[in-house]
Symmetry: C2
Subunit: 347 residues, 2 copies
């Protein structure tokens, strides 16, 4: 692993995007979102995706200069057509629109259509907390979760993110998909030669397996419950937006042909002004107290009770100082990019 | 088991409440909500609760004639003070208010304070679908879920309900708490002398056990994920309303003294007008197609892939005709009530 300074990395990625004629704000929000995820330890959704996005840009999947079209449909709702640009740019735009509407209407919800992969949702939902609002974000994704009772994947591992401001620290942030574990975790078990716990993955026939090399499908939290939550996210992100749902959601990865296809993804972003319900000062103080109480709960040996978002806050504090740990191969790829575009020893 | 006609049962319960000087609409909505749950097979939240509510009415916990105070705080938000009446009456009132606001504002959210137990959430959230809206309902509850990494219960088994209208059948309805299984299910294992699956309950020290007689705490779906979802519900229902949260949420059951205490519960109800995002006809047709597709998914042997709400729809079709199955003891209690108030052979 190489430790990379987040500012240098951000600067390099942004320059590369600009040299590919990506719009200034689209480039800025995309690299900010990727670095945000990496700083918080969400490496699967962090800077490693940059190369995937670059490939999508070159193949024509991603639109470097979108013509965002926003239609406000009521006091508290609207639709944003993202024109097939980077999902990060669409998400920040939509979240900002929902915050603006919520300032007047008390709450607001923006459905995004013709979008693409948007990385980790926390980046968007946390925006609302800067305005003393609760932020919520959803995105659907490629079919990966085994359906309850079914033989095969149906819904994506569709995440839900919920944020709320606190008095003395960064906001509360729950950002979770609906599988028990991730494929990254499955790979770790495989590499270590370990058996998986029972009930977290299924083989290609839909049968539960504990052999990581047979894992083809992820099982949802609470099986039919996580499956239901993923369907809810598909209803919000796919049906309210007119985008494909279930097994019709486009593939993220694949050969050159796949990478040419636009994603046609939908996302859904909500803001709730806290003052519309209760004094924001009292809310933030009570949420702070609740978090403090939780952290002091009697815990099992060797572990402690944490508030959702605590692991990410801890990692962010460390990585902001020490840098983002990056596999050597990725570091080399970034260096090659810097050389290719004569950007010098940027990272 | 005795099969009881739902209309007769509803009529008996309503008459008993009216004879206790309960407001006409409060009585009507409470018995409708209880029967609604029983018809759908959600017996834990159905008519068996009537005796608990009656005890709460007699003890002074529940206010028979509430002075509902509604404050609209913005175009799309409001607070309802339920004045410690039956949670069903407060929930229907709040859902109706959110629907009215959403008709104009596109979406709306009503936080309810000073409420009590409201039974199953589907009864409220389904109201929105009658107006071609998505309905969402949340309530917090007494501490029952083991906290992730913790030794003891912290959050309640706080449910989330999400409904959406469909073209050719009753609405989509996900109504689920965040535990893997319920205490009712634990009791069933105990009665059958069976071991529980691993990872669904913990003993009084917070250690996982498969012995149903040692089960003291429920484990959340995905452990820290369901724990996080329950915290989100507590934020909406407890912090936005000024009600207690976590282990401070009042106890539902207990001795006479406990039953005297008002619950100080909060609930949160949302309505989203589908036409604010996409044509409602197209939405309902696509949701219908999605449900049909899911039901035709290749399934494991002996089971079939179901849409959330399918089991309840199936049971409701049967019970609407055959009646609600009731344990003999409960049937006798209802008969005694009928005799006590000279209501004849009402059920």
């Amino acid at each position: 692993m190489v430790l990379v300074d987040s500012k240098n990395l951000k600067s390099l990625m942004k320059q590369v995007l600009l040299l590919h004629n990506v719009d200034e704000i689209v480039a800025k929000t995309t690299v900010e979102g990727l670095v945000h995820a990496s700083l918080r330890g969400v490496d699967s959704h962090g800077v490693r995706l940059f190369f995937h996005y670059l490939a999508g840009l070159k193949s024509g999947r991603l639109n470097p200069n979108p013509n965002f079209v926003f239609e406000q449909t009521s006091e508290s709702t609207g639709i944003l057509d993202a024109d097939h640009t980077f999902g990060h740019a669409a998400g920040i735009k939509a979240m900002q629109l929902s915050i603006e509407l919520a300032k007047k209407a008390g709450s607001a919800h923006i459905a995004v259509k013709n979008s693409s992969h948007c990385g980790a949702l926390a980046y968007f939902a946390l925006e609302a907390c800067k305005h003393d609002m609760i932020g919520v974000a959803y995105t659907h994704a490629t079919s990966r979760l085994k359906s309850a009772n079914g033989q095969r994947e149906f819904f994506g591992n569709n995440p839900i993110c919920f944020t709320a401001p606190m008095k003395d620290e960064e906001p509360f942030c729950y950002d979770g998909a609906n599988s028990v574990i991730t494929f990254n975790e499955v790979r770790r078990y495989k590499d270590l030669g370990l058996e998986l716990p029972y009930g977290v993955v299924a083989d290609k026939y839909g049968n539960i397996t504990t052999d990581p090399s047979q894992a083809e499908q992820l099982i949802s939290i609470g099986d039919y419950k996580g499956f239901g939550l993923s369907m809810i996210v598909d209803i919000l992100c796919g049906l309210l937006t007119g985008m494909p749902v279930g097994r019709d959601v486009s593939k993220m990865f694949g050969d050159e042909e796949v990478l040419k296809n636009k994603r046609y993804l939908g996302q859904f972003y909500s803001s709730y002004k806290i003052d519309s319900f209760i004094s924001k000062e009292s809310f933030k103080e009570r949420l702070q107290n609740l978090a403090n109480t939780l952290r002091n709960e009697p815990s099992l040996e060797g572990v402690s009770v944490m508030v959702p978002g605590d692991p990410e806050k801890k990692i962010e504090a460390k990585r902001a100082v020490e840098g983002i740990p990056m596999p050597k191969e990725d570091y080399k790829k970034f260096q090659n990019l810097a050389n290719e575009f004569s950007l010098g020893e940027s990272i």
